[in-house]
Amino acid sequence: MPESVETIVHERKIVTKIIIVIVLAVWFVWTVTPLGIMVLSSIKTEREAFATPEIGDWKGVLNVFRFKPTGQHYRALLIEEKFGTYVWHGLTASLSSAVIAIVLGTLGAYGLSRGKFKQENNISFWIISTRMAPIVVVIVPLYYIFRKTGLLQTIPGLITAYTTFNLPFALWLIKGFFDDIPVEIEEAAFVDGDTHWRVFRKIALPLAAPGIVASFVLCVLFSWNDFLFAAVIGGAPAKTVPVAIPELQTTAYIRWGPITAATVILVVPMIFLGILIRKYLVQGLTMGAVRE
């Protein structure tokens, strides 16, 4: 009888595989199709972009891929709409805020992870609690504070606003990575003759690097994609891409071509960052150095 049991097990394996492939295929179509249509539409004329087939006309689906590529929307965005400036604003604000959050967050995380002081848990909780409220809750008081301090409608203002949200987030994320480094590795370095600062730089930092890079990318993502802070605090002088896109929807008509092109501009840098994060999130660097 063993053969039939084997066949059943084998058949089950095949069925599981088929189910997995189907689920993945549906998920892939579901997530990638909108992106694909967006990218294709951004290099089509609006007429071509809206040449959708009738319902049931499956052959007409091929029309989606029948077009002459054009850069007119990108040209319109970059030259007429000065999108380059908005991209620049967004990159400056998000990268600066991420750098500040990561530098301060790494130092803070190391302190919280390794230091021993009173009320440690309460301090940690307080830090993350600042991130619990949604942005909308703090936007009005922040607006008032920023107006009083002259930070309103400036890039430094935007950087400050993003940092208030990025810092606690980065600190908590990086703290987890420091917590995972066995203390003995650092102690070994102390005994080998290193000062505390050098142990931090040469041992702790490289070992937590994947976490730090991942946190950096997530901080950039948060600020780059942010709409609310940019709209309320940044305003016109510090306009970023997410704020500029809705403005392409004029009272007369919706400029679908430029909108799709602008969305591509918004998404592409983050896709690159996504590839980065994937590379760095591969953990296991600490595995094997310390007996498990």
């Binding site: 070994a188 370095a189 102390f190 000062t195 660097l285 150095a289 310390v290 007996r291």
Partner: protein, 367 residues
């Protein structure tokens, strides 16, 4: 090479007292073992010497300098950790070179020293590997290598071989001892394995609950344990303890148990007389499994009779569990005769090897 002195050292974690009033003098070039069960404060002591743990009270002196407030990196010590603590992001060569790079040693000399250390430990072929590619024994060698590349004043070893498999552990015991001889180094070695301590150390400091129980050569702590704890901790299988009463009769002392009684030899009695130990004192009679002579037929003269409970053959030796009334003892003898379970057995005691401890304090009543 250095002289390490602990003077009335205390370590408290909040209300928990991990090390209590510990004074140890580790001589230059000595191999000193800190031995004790887990949680006895031996690792805390080592970490205080390393400077990784703050000293609550007392002084630690390395070569006439009080190091209480000296940072670890200024103490010139090397330490091998129980978990090896290799740098996972550095290859074996760089792991071993790390303490030398810290000193900004010229790359040429550095290379020479690393290769020399690797040669001693037979790990030259591993220099180009990552720590995660090594087996436990190899990691342990690299960890030792990282300690011996430079010439520190003191080597601190925190159970460095306790996680290796039994065969490798036995091998490494010899290697460590030889290493100590070749390096002419002061080594302080922490272990919970009495066999490791016995076989390697010049002197053993036995700790329990943060208190130093006894310090002495392996011979001293094994043959002249200061108290019941030391007697019971060293030796495998451990010493047998039988609660007895001491009975004084015509100037000589007798041991009285509900199942047996015998007269203590003159050498012991005279010691007791000198100490004016009174009549009817409760004592713990300590007899090592090796200190029994077994008879399966009733001899003319014997000290204790009992019944065989079970036998545990160990190849060359056999351990025999014997019930004596409500008590149970383990006796060790060579394999040969067949010992039937539940059959009677007669024991003679090698009196020159017995130990007698105070029933209340556990302190040894013998010199």
């Amino acid at each position: 090479m250095a002289h390490v002195k602990l003077q009335n050292v205390w370590k408290k974690y909040g209300k928990v007292e991990a090390v209590k009033d510990l004074s140890i003098d580790c001589m230059d070039r000595e191999f000193l073992c800190l031995l004790g069960p887990s949680g006895c404060g031996k690792s805390s002591t080592l970490r205080m010497i390393a400077g990784l743990e703050h000293i609550t009270e007392g002084k630690i002196i390395i070569d006439d300098v009080v190091v209480n407030e000296v940072d670890p990196h200024k103490r010139d010590i090397a330490m091998v950790f129980e978990s090896y603590a290799l740098y996972p992001h550095k290859k074996v060569f760089d792991n071993m070179a790390y303490p030398l790079r810290v000193q900004r040693m010229a790359e040429n000399t550095l290379k020479q020293k690393v290769h020399h250390a690797a040669k001693i430990l037979d790990i030259e072929s591993l220099l180009d590997r990552w720590p995660r590619q090594l087996s436990g024994g190899q990691k342990q060698r690299v960890a030792i290598g990282r300690a011996i590349v430079r010439n520190p004043k003191v080597f601190l070893l925190d159970e460095p071989i306790s996680h290796l498999d039994a065969k490798l552990r036995t091998h490494m015991r010899g290697e460590m001892k030889r290493l100590h001889r070749d390096l002419e180094a002061t080594m302080i070695y922490v272990t919970h394995d009495q066999l490791e301590a016995m076989s390697m150390a010049d002197r053993i400091a036995v700790l329990n609950f943060g208190v130093l129980q006894q310090i002495g050569t392996p011979d001293e702590v094994f043959n002249h344990p200061a108290n019941k704890f030391v007697g019971g901790f060293l030796g495998d299988p451990p010493m047998n303890f039988l609660q007895c009463k001491l009975n004084k009769e015509n100037g000589s002392y007798n041991i009285v148990h509900d199942q047996f009684h015998f007269k203590l030899p003159e050498s012991v009695s005279s010691q007791f007389s000198k100490k004016e130990i009174g009549d009817e004192k409760i004592v713990e009679l300590g007899i090592r499994p090796e200190s029994f002579v077994l008879f399966q037929k009733e001899p003319d003269k014997y000290d204790i009779s009992g019944k065989i409970y079970i036998t545990e053959p160990l190849g060359e030796d056999v351990i025999i569990d014997i019930t004596i009334g409500d008590d149970m003892v383990k006796a060790k003898t060579v394999v040969g005769s067949k010992y039937e379970i539940d059959s009677p057995v007669w024991l003679k005691i090698k009196f020159e090897h017995i130990h007698i401890f105070d029933g209340e304090t556990g302190q040894s009543l013998l010199d």
